[in-house]
Amino acid sequence: MTRRSWIGWGFTGPFLAVFALVFLAPIAYSAYLSVFRTQLVGGTTFVGLENYTKALSDPQFWEALTRVGLFLVIQVPIMLFLALLIALAIDSGRLYGAAFFRISIFLPYAVPAVVATLMWGFMYGSRIGLVGNLNESFGWAIPDPLAPDLILTAIGNIVTWEFVGYNMIILYSGLRVVDTALYEAAAIDGAGQFRIIRAIKLPALRGPLVVATIFSIIGSFQLFNEPQILDTLAPNSITTYFTPNVYAYQLSFAGQQVNYSATIALIMGVVTMLVAYLFQRRGMRGAER
């Protein structure tokens, strides 16, 4: 018995060591940081859970959290619906040049988010960008996409462009594993394409959709690169507390409030895991029936 368990440790040891080093240790260190406060005048003092109570009543944190929440409930369904349509179209076998579409729609995922944002930033420019050129050439009056009331939509557009292909691949691979005998049987029973989609393909996609949604939930809460880079183009539209991550970054590097920043990071980690977990439970419940 003892001998057997030692062998097990030998196999999992390397993993556990790395896991502890890169995963548990940083969390523990963040938690350690989050119970202190370092001031420019006065140095470091132990403050217990003060940073946590401060965060929960911090209007800037709540504004940031609400903003990514809004982003989540609007952008993610649009993106996943588009990904679903494309996956179904490519899988239907009726699309000419399916392989070309598959790769070209996936391609934006290979563009680094920083580059993608810069590129879109230039297109959005209402003075020297594409929007400005269109307005000038055709006498249009496209509103400035980088204005405060539109910037979240503009970011949603960038993120959708970047990730629709990625999600499409997840869904498409879900469709590829469906037993083709099912389609034959459905055809013999006289089912049309839409019937096949509703009765076979969509139920088969439940798992992949849940996975894609969880990835997107995490991604939404982690929103950072796009607002951070657009900030140089539209400094007044992107506040220093635009998203929780932007806020944590600002606190840490502009405000030198490392302890409070660690607190925000930990709270966001917990919130994200909680939402993802609840969604997974809810999403998978039907599948077990």
Binding site: V22, F23, P26, I27, Y29, S30, L33, F36, T38, Q39, L40, V41, G42, G43, T44, A113, G125, R127, I128, A147, P148, V159, E162, F163, Y166, I214, F215, S216, I218, G219, Q222, L223, F224, N225, E226, L233, A234, P235, N236, S237, I238, T239, T240, Y241, N245, A248, Y249, S252, F253, A254, G255, Q256, Q257, V258, S261, A262, A265, L266, G269, T272
Partner: protein, 447 residues
Amino acid sequence: MMITRRRALLGAALSITLLAAGCGGSDDSDSGGAAAETTVSEADVQAALDAGGAIKVWAWEPTLKQVVADFQKKYPKVKVELVNSGTGNDAYTALQNAITAGTGVPDVAQIEYYALPQYALAKNLTDLNTFGASGLDGTFTPGTWNSVHAGEAVYGLPMDSGPMALFYNKEVFDKHGIAVPATWQEYAAAAEKLHAADPKAYITSDSGDAGFTTSMIWQAGGKPYTVDGTNVGVNFSDPGTQKFTGLWQPLIDKKLLNPVPGWSDGWYQGLADGTIASLVIGAWMPANLESGVKAGNGKWRVAPMPQWEAGGKATSENGGSSIAIPEKAANKTLAYAFLKYATVDEGAATRAANGAFPATTKELGSTEFLGKEFPYFGGQKVNEVLAASAGQVVPGWSYLPFQVYANSIYGDTVGKAYLGQGTLQDGLKSWQDASVKYGQEQGFTVK
């Protein structure tokens, strides 16, 4: 970034804290009063130069490139890596990251005067008295020398200064028959006239710039910041501030300011194509115009800063940088050798000759410097105007010891006024409130 794996989620969240690792333990809290003793002599510095080595310099000031080349030629064993880590706040974020992480810290960093107190207070910079820097008293203009001091400690050597002046595109002004404004009233009238004549052209650009706003308030005689050790006051309701908002608010309301953010691609483009017709900015601007706006060659001129009262002679400083040695720098002795070369010795003259505005009294007073004709400015003796401005700076201004942070939240607060949400005065009030709150959280006594 949409990070798409759950593990990456925590990884990203925690990378912030990992970077923070080096930062926890600074427990000394005094704001640096007494001078450190000289422990490295000039002979030691010379020995280090002869022995050679490599140093890393983070700076964005363009004339340093030539200085670095000359320095390496003079001391062939020394290798200097000059890195542009961004301008202003971007550079400070990069520097703060490096200092916090404890690795990749440059040996020399360009730090603007307004930002020095914050780094000095956090003990992130080397007190140059260890190299006998106090012996340089009298080498620099009193204003800049004062700016690098915290008590007796010297935290950087002044590299340039930024007394303000009006830089304008003469071609655009002439085309629309606009006279060079001598007062702010004339300036506002010129803004209106220019934009009416050419709807694409603006007198200047401003999308909200903390440095510009504070310099304007400074010139108007305002003193919103009072600093006495760790006792700090912030008050933007003084008459100087109201003078500025009274001038600037109508320009915003009438959309007479090009809203392109400063130092962006669009900004350089606007300066080049004449849609940004003038800038009220620091005396370090000529070198930046020459390198960044080549199309403006021969078109630009420099005039004294517009005045609040006709015939007045009041100016303020805008920016201006020192170069400093971070506390965690690897090769401090070589770094100091470079500092001295670039700001006091041959480098100072080289930089002045290439269009930088020096902080050394020797260069400022030299007939060669004052009489230099700038082809970029149509042969104008630009330095005469700028040196005159340097002598007219309104005394008594101070920045907050956490000005870098305050400036970073300027867009959150005053920025709203540039979008038509509330007035500048409202925005300045919320900037004040946010600065006070931060100061209190950081342990300052804030009034």
